[in-house]
């Protein structure tokens, strides 16, 4: 039944071609370990949702293979569905039902007996802070409440693995923080594995154990957040020295973790792998030679820079478009009622 490896998600050369020509996902391979939070980052249209849809059996891969929770997505789709939970990118709850009814309805679809699902649904609504609104129709929910309801619905079958497609899109800062809290909690308290996509790079940096950056359907970089950041060449240390005439470059280069030094008059721009540890060593070295340090600054590369480096796009350019798109989606939904 299980395919004999320890990965909860094992993807090999997964490809999805839409309409015979658009390669939305193009030969992607990666593994996810049980119990980790795996982040999938990429610009709009990179293929994130398409990948999630294939892993959750909503789309048939054009080629390649994927096992999820030990089951092949093609040959055992129902076993995959039973073992994972999904928080989709769109709001999918039924507007005419209450929050509680929506969660219990999901329970019915997973075959959780009503006697159990009623308790569970209440527990989950409590977890996402919707207890007070549990008996209100979803029509009356705000965007943030809807998103949290999706999270509660996705957890009703107590899955081993939860897929979250942009769980914090369109949420305000407090709600976003709360959602990240739930996500961390799910990992820590329940040992759940989380696979998520997001556009909030700083937050992904803080919460994900590993991150894959995907662009044009291909994974361009995969690693822990610190690996990704150090792949940019390390931290930047800027040192100012009072003595303008002497070139200290050879001296600084003696420091073991220093990779590159550039001099601008009395200032030095140093690239080092562990900036906060390298900086004191550099200061000591300069001082023992009798020079005076006038200023020092350590900057660590941010996820933004990593993202920019590997996708050639800045996330901020996209943000405006996304907010607009989200508003339109909500408008369409409202128009229905």
């Amino acid at each position: 039944m299980t395919s004999g490896n320890d990965f909860i998600i094992d993807v090999k050369d997964l490809t999805k071609v839409y309409n015979g020509s658009l390669r939305a996902v193009d030969g992607v391979s990666f593994e996810v370990n049980e119990g980790e939070i795996f982040g999938f980052l990429g610009p709009n249209g990179a293929g994130k949702t398409t990948t999630i849809k294939m892993l959750t059996t909503l789309l048939r891969p054009t080629s390649g293979s994927a096992t999820v929770c030990g089951y092949d997505v093609r040959s055992h789709p129902n076993d995959v569905r039973a073992s994972v939970g999904i928080v989709p990118q769109e709001y999918t709850s039924d507007e005419d039902m209450t929050g509680l009814e929506n969660v219990m309805f999901c329970g019915d679809l997973y075959g959780v007996p009503r006697s159990i699902s009623k308790e569970r649904a209440k527990e989950l609504l409590d977890l996402v802070g919707l207890s007070d609104a549990a008996n209100r129709k979803v029509q009356t929910y705000s965007g943030g409440m809807r998103r949290r309801l999706e999270i509660a619905s996705g957890l009703i079958n107590h899955p081993r693995l939860l897929f979250l497609d942009e769980p914090t899109l369109g949420l305000d800062v407090q709600t976003r923080t709360a959602v990240w809290e739930y996500i961390k909690k799910l990992k820590e308290d329940y040992g759940m594995t989380l696979f998520m996509t997001t556009h909030y790079l700083e937050e992904a940096d803080g919460i994900c154990d590993r991150i894959a950056i995907i662009d044009h359907g291909k994974i361009v970089k995969l690693g822990t957040p610190s690996e990704l950041k150090s792949s940019l060449g390390g931290d930047v240390i800027e040192v100012g020295v009072r003595e303008e005439t002497d070139d200290l470059t050879p001296l600084i280069q003696q420091c073991p973790s220093v990779k590159d030094v550039r001099r601008l008059n009395s200032e030095y721009r140093i690239k080092a792998s562990m900036g906060e540890e390298a900086a004191p060593t550099i200061i000591d070295l300069i001082r023992t030679k009798g020079y005076h340090v006038t200023k020092i600054m350590v900057t660590k590369p941010t996820m933004d820079q990593v993202y920019l480096e590997y996708t050639g796009k800045s996330i901020r350019d996209e943000e405006a478009d996304r907010a607009e798109m989200m508003r339109q989606r909500i408008t369409i939904r409202r128009a229905r009622n």
Binding site: T92, G111, R148
Partner: protein, 315 residues
């Protein structure tokens, strides 16, 4: 405004996280994995949208009731034969003879002495057909708003999704037909031939008809991506199907090419069975044939509908 709800709510969310006790281990004991699990939940979801909104229920009954009043009472076709204007000049036929004659004429054309009763049975088929047609629409919305994807991502069987739609449509149309029958009686429907078995039989006939049509329209709805094109398809089909049957007029007064269509239209057989069973009218086919034809239609289209829908859902 919604922002206020939102942020005050996220505060309580934070608190909830903090007070949460250490977790029980999560396990999935006692999970129902029978192929029919979730069927009732899916069916009931559709039905709730209908019975929880009485206004909608009433609105959907207005049209058939208007038709009953308009065709059955206002343009009472039977009155052409019975109101006395039908007389042959020069021959002064006594009124009672004339009435008898016209009753016979009515009997031979409509199979019953009043058009209203004739039409009332036709209206049962009408509401059944229209309800079946429009309930297919809901899957277009489900698809549009991601709800269908959510359902598809759960281990509920694809068959249960299709069957839930068909079942809710069938229940709904039979309930609407029952209400029309109840309304038609005080309006003047002839109850002289009513029997429990007759009523049951009529609803079995309607059941078979709506089963086939629900499956057919669900299949059509699943193929279309937007409700406009779905509406267009339904508007294209509903009136021809209705007028090309014996629901409103007996086929004997129709041109032969239309009679041929009436003979293959399942609505004709459901209506015919209803008239035989409720009004004691002579049928245009035998009662046995009515039921065999309807059962064949139901089995054929349910099978095609389920297989096609299932294939569309699993692609």
């Amino acid at each position: 405004m919604s922002d206020n709800i939102n942020s005050s709510d996220s505060d309580s969310g934070q608190k909830a996280v903090l007070v949460q006790k250490p977790m029980k281990k999560w396990g999935n004991e006692r999970i129902d994995r029978s192929p029919l699990h979730g069927l009732w939940a899916l069916t009931n979801r559709e039905l709730e949208k209908w019975y929880k909104v009485p206004v909608l229920l009433l609105l959907s009954l207005i049209q058939p009731v208007i038709w009953l009043g308009l065709f059955g009472k206002a343009f009472n076709i039977g009155s052409i034969f019975t109101d006395g204007s039908f007389n042959i000049p020069g021959l002064n036929i006594p009124k009672n003879v004339l009435d008898q004659l016209s009753a016979q004429l009515m009997q031979s054309t409509f199979g019953t002495t009043d058009y209203f009763s004739f039409l009332a049975v036709g209206m049962l088929s009408f509401v059944t057909l229209f309800t079946a047609m429009f309930s297919g629409m809901s899957i277009v919305w489900d698809r549009r708003f991601g709800f269908l994807d959510k359902v598809l991502s759960t281990p509920v069987s694809r068959g249960a999704i299709v069957m839930g739609k068909i079942l809710s449509s069938v229940i709904r149309s039979l309930a609407q037909a029952a209400i029309i029958l109840v309304i038609a009686v005080p309006l003047g429907m002839d109850v002289g031939h009513f029997s429990v078995l007759g009523i049951l039989g009529t609803f079995v006939a309607l059941f078979l008809m709506t089963l086939g049509f629900s499956a057919l329209f669900l299949m059509l709805a699943l193929r279309s991506n937007d409700w406009q094109s779905q509406m267009a398809i339904m508007n294209l089909l509903n009136l021809p199907l209705l007028f090309g049957s014996n629901a409103l007029f007996p086929s004997s007064i129709m041109p032969t090419w239309l009679q041929d269509f009436v003979k293959i239209n399942p609505i004709s057989y459901a209506t015919d069975a209803g008239r035989q069973l409720l009004l004691g009218a002579p049928g245009f086919a035998s009662l046995n044939f009515d039921f065999i034809y309807l059962a064949g239609f139901a089995i054929l289209f349910t099978t095609i509908g389920i297989v096609m829908s299932w294939r569309l859902l699993t692609k």
